[in-house]
């Protein structure tokens, strides 16, 4: 019997990574790392708490002969300060790619976000993967997300032997997810901007897990948006999830930003104000076609879940 292939999963403490590990652990030997904590994922999974920028990180590569990396570990803009985030997300990822080259890891999947496109009134709909990434133009807090993408693209073309796949998903939602917009669906009262209900896309965490596993296993290098071709206005999504809205004044924009800074709500960060205003609708058709992917869970499934929490 052929020995199981070994893969490294970063960001193991996150809900999505746990789901990915759970799905892949019967076919692969999993080594899980997270910068926050040593995650207990059961006996077959080796787990480490490690900082990518420390020399100790290389020991994991020396000890294990990896057949692939699933890089889900990213500090979100809600956590820590800009400098630490940049070091972890950008400099840390570079370290990861360099180690992957040094130890001949044949494939790497990197998780990005649709936030990189930036929310602007001028966005056309169905942004494809060639659309310029404008998020850093809007806020310094998303610079690390854009830089992580640029870095991945450079390694993708400069070092084809790494076989890098970058996934840019829309809003991930469902049990355990703690990103801004999923948190808003779970709250009893959620802030919205007066007079704005941007169109949004949501993908269920189980579908995103399947998208990651499929893209990793088929390994067709490139950059892909991951989103269903189903849409809903933000305020309608809040209502469908059984939440009530708190209307925040939307004009003038500087006043809205001041309110966000004053409130310091995790679910209404100043750097995401534009995402509460303007749609960022991505075209997931390339991913769907390349990997023969169709989400199984509907928007109604997502909203029914959040409604059941209330």
């Amino acid at each position: 019997m052929e020995p199981k292939k070994k893969i490294l999963v970063t960001g193991a403490a996150g809900a999505l990574a746990k789901k990915v590990i759970d799905k892949l652990k019967k076919d692969y030997k999993i080594v899980a790392v997270d910068f926050r904590t040593k995650v207990d994922l059961g006996i077959p999974v080796e787990s480490y708490k490690v900082d990518f920028n420390k020399r100790l990180f290389e020991d994991i590569f020396r000890e294990h002969d990896f057949d692939g990396i699933i890089h889900l570990g990213r500090i979100s803009a809600m956590e820590l300060n800009r400098f630490t985030r940049y070091n972890a997300n950008v400099v840390g990822t570079r370290k990861l790619f360099d180690l992957a080259r040094k130890y001949n890891v044949p494939k790497t999947l990197v998780m990005s976000t649709y936030f990189v496109y930036g929310a602007s009134a001028y966005n056309p709909s169905l942004l494809d993967e060639t659309t310029p990434l404008k998020a850093s133009e809007l806020t310094m807090d998303l610079v690390d997300s854009v830089e992580l993408e640029n870095l991945s693209s450079i390694y993708l073309y400069k070092h084809p032997e790494l076989n890098i796949t970058v996934l840019r998903p829309c809003n991930i939602a469902g049990p355990g997810v703690r990103n801004t917009f999923s948190m808003l669906l779970s709250e009893k009262r959620s802030p919205v901007l007066w007079g704005f209900s941007p169109l949004m896309q949501f993908i269920h965490i189980d579908d995103m897990r399947d998208a990651i596993c499929t893209a990793f296993e088929k390994n067709i290098p490139g950059v892909y948006n991951v989103a269903p071709d189903d849409y809903i206005g933000f305020q309608d999504a809040i209502k469908a999830s059984g939440s009530k809205t708190i209307q925040i004044p939307s004009i003038p924009p500087s006043f809205t930003e001041r309110i966000a800074r004053f409130l310091k709500w995790k679910s209404f960060p100043p750097y995401l104000i534009n995402y509460f205003k303007y749609p960022v609708i991505i075209d997931g058709s390339l991913f769907a076609k390349t990997f023969d992917f169709k989400p199984k869970k509907t928007l109604s499934d997502i909203f029914t879940y959040y409604k059941s929490l209330k």
């Binding site: 709909s125 169905l126 007079g195 209900s197 071709d229 189903d230 849409y231 809903i232 749609p279 928007l299």
Partner: protein, 281 residues
């Protein structure tokens, strides 16, 4: 008075006749009734009820040449732009949806600043408006949709009242789109919208302060005005010229066709006004 208002509103929003038109919309909306540009079937029904009332009772629209609209397939509908607010787009859209020659559910390209205006941006996209980006237009033509484009933009819609029925500079983007996507152009002349909201000045410093392209000085009143819409014959342009000057010449052909339709509309309106005066006598 309050009771009378209530009756009108009830009449508008309980009008079930618009349901038949909703079947016109291609089945491109998702599970929640939205398409990728924010069009929302529920809002559209209510909007159509209101538009029907305005179309029939307020603007008393008469539409001519609807037989020129292709029953299916991609096309660009190019009207003159006027009236400060996008009522002209609304009326053209309603004419197409209720056309006896084969209904079309059009998309309308709107000014890029409109999504920045609370409520207006959302409302417009929910009824089929899309920001005027060539990427959007190209995708919709690929979907074989009828797309309404106002090449004058704010130069036309927000011009001063003293410039009424004088076509302003046309952008050439629509011509590139028509040629690249092999889409016929249907010129449209709209008469009557210029008189509904009249702009007497453009308050440029205030517009700059609010980040708007224009700030018209208008009376807060919607003047009643009968509207005539003339749809012209489709014009086809092959994708065989490359110089911008040649494109501009082709844009001028469309402009001239619209001017002719405007003349027709103005003549019809004059005859109508005369008839009304005689009736009063």
């Amino acid at each position: 008075m309050a009771k009378e208002k209530q009756t009108i509103l009830n009449k508008i929003f309980n009008d079930s006749s618009v349901e038949e038109y909703v079947n016109v919309f291609p089945n491109r909306v998702g599970s929640q009734g939205f398409d990728a540009w924010g069009f929302n079937i529920k809002n559209m029904k209510n909007n159509m009820r209101l538009t029907k009332y305005m179309y029939e009772n307020f603007f008393k629209v008469e539409a001519f040449g609807l037989e020129n609209i292709p029953k299916e397939g991609r096309c660009l509908i190019i009207p003159n732009h006027s009236g400060q607010l996008p009522f002209d787009g609304m009326l053209v859209g309603y004419s197409l949806i209720t056309s006896p020659y084969g209904a079309r559910a059009p998309k309308a390209m709107v000014e890029r600043f409109l999504p920045t205006v609370p409520f207006i941006g959302n409302w417009l996209s929910s009824v089929g408006a899309v920001i005027g980006d060539p990427v959007n237009c190209e995708r919709m033509l690929e979907n074989e949709e009828a797309v309404v484009v106002f090449p004058e933009g704010v130069r036309g819609s927000n011009k001063l009242y003293k410039h009424k029925y004088q076509l302003q500079r046309f952008g050439s983007g629509f011509m590139h789109l028509a040629m690249n996507n092999n889409a016929p152009i249907i010129p449209v002349g709209i008469v009557g919208m210029e008189e509904t909201i009249r702009s007497y000045a453009d308050l440029k410093p205030l517009a700059k302060l609010l980040g708007m392209p224009v700030m018209p000085l208008v009376l807060p009143y919607l003047f009643p005005s009968k509207v005539f819409i003339h749809f012209g014959k489709p014009i086809h342009f092959n994708n065989d010229v490359y110089k911008e000057q040649d494109i501009t010449d082709r844009v001028n052909i469309v402009k001239e066709a619209i001017n002719e339709l405007l003349k027709e509309g103005l003549a019809k309106r004059e005859a109508y006004n005369k008839e009304q005066k005689e009736k009063k006598k």
